[in-house]
Amino acid sequence: MIKFKNVNKWFGSLHVLNDINLQVSAGEVVVVCGPSGSGKSTLIRCINRLERIQKGELFVDGMPLHDSTINLTKLRAEIGFVFQQFHLYPHLSVLENVTLAPIHVRKMKKKEAEALAMEKLERVGLADKATAHPEQLSGGQQQRVAIARGLAMSPKILLFDEPTSALDPEMIGEVLAVMVKLAQEGMTMCVVTHEMGFARQVAHRVIFMDEGKIIETGKPDQFFDNPQSDRAAMFISKILKH
């Protein structure tokens, strides 16, 4: 589904992605972790080309992202992206947030899109908030709406960039519960997160990055209980302290 082949990227002189090789197959849940500035967000932002790679090859759903002639909007419609800061549209209601892309990208009828949106809102447990505006929701609720917005496009891949980092502790659980359900239903997911519980419960693989490189890859239990590299061991001991 996703294939990085010797991918490199620089921000000025900073080597943010250093020879990345990674393959994610359909239905797989991959958790990416690492210290801040390690390139993990950049890695997943490359998958829907919010960031461009500069060297190497990147295939997503069979499309070569290193090729500038591909139909990007079509590709992006197949990939959901959930941001750390939610980025719901503040001028639209919850329902309109979810139906916007189905109506204008998928060209669905309004009625049809609304029925679909209600079904997705039901899945994240917020059907009763359909007429509310984002500002009336808590952070956790906003993030769940953002997930419903992604799901409404029936994406082949869902990308999460630190989806719980901006949330108060008591709201993290409700968002993770939705993500766990999606993972169990077989959604292909790449999740940048430090939530070990989530990783242990549903991730097939954990990828540890530092300084733009993939340092270690492993099954969650093996990675957290018995990291192979010193760098990963140090990182895990730090996040465990909290």
């Binding site: 919010l50 992006r76 941001f83 503040p90 916007l100 892309a101 204008h104 984002p134 496009m153």
Partner: protein, 221 residues
């Protein structure tokens, strides 16, 4: 002093003030409408990826903002005929106000658009919305809220600036005051009435501005 103040003369000249008010109103509305178009186009050019277009837009905006409106009016009024372009005073005045306000409006609209957080644009991109769809459904509705109040401020400025058209003998409000003064030498009556009528227009626009501020501002929380 007040016994010399002749309300009767003001009333006598009411048709002159009416004509002036009507012209000020019409000139302002038409200029503002055209300035909005010019401003949005200049702003689009200013934000475009094409360097040449951006250069033309910056040159236009900066040359207008760095020179007095009166000079621009004189340039068009006296300069255009020497270039072989002859248009009547009112149209020249409208052209000057349009070009002048257009430059300021371009910057107001640009500030509105760039005030929309980058994350909003990324969310739209990620949903597969095209550039124009993002503009129409995400960026412009949010930019509108922060743009309308300063736009109404610019509209107020434009109405007051239209007084300068009296310098090229357009019979607008200020000019009607001048005409009364030269016929009957009653500057107090003349310009008191003129000022009062500007005040009426001003409060109307200010009311709209306050209302729009309450209704149109949305912010990401």
């Amino acid at each position: 002093m007040l016994e010399f103040f002749s309300f009767r003369t003001i009333w006598e000249y009411r048709s002159l003030f009416q004509e002036g008010l009507r012209n000020t109103f019409l000139i302002s509305i038409v200029s503002l409408f055209l300035a909005l178009i010019a401003g949005v186009l200049a702003c689009a050019a200013r934000l475009s990826g094409w360097r040449g277009l951006r250069g033309v837009s910056i040159a236009y905006i900066e040359s207008i903002r760095s020179t007095p409106l009166l000079v621009q009016i004189y340039f068009l009024y006296f300069g255009l005929p020497t270039l072989g372009i002859r248009i009547p005073e009112i149209q020249t005045g409208i052209l000057a106000l349009m070009l002048n306000s257009g430059a300021y409006i371009a910057e107001i609209v640009r500030a509105g658009i760039t005030s929309v957080p980058g994350g909003q644009i990324e969310a739209g991109i990620s949903s597969g919305l095209s550039y124009f769809q993002r503009m129409r459904f995400i960026i412009l509705p949010q930019a509108l809220g922060v743009t309308v109040p300063p736009l109404l401020g610019q509209a107020i400025t434009l109405v007051k600036d239209s007084a300068l058209l009296s310098m090229i003998s357009v019979v607008e409000l200020t000019r009607s005051g001048q005409m009364l003064t030269s016929e009957r030498f009653m500057p107090a009556e003349a310009f008191f009435t003129v000022a009062l009528l500007y005040l009426v227009i001003y409060f109307f626009l200010k009311y709209l501005s306050g209302w729009s501020q309450k209704k149109l501002i949305f912010r990401e929380t």
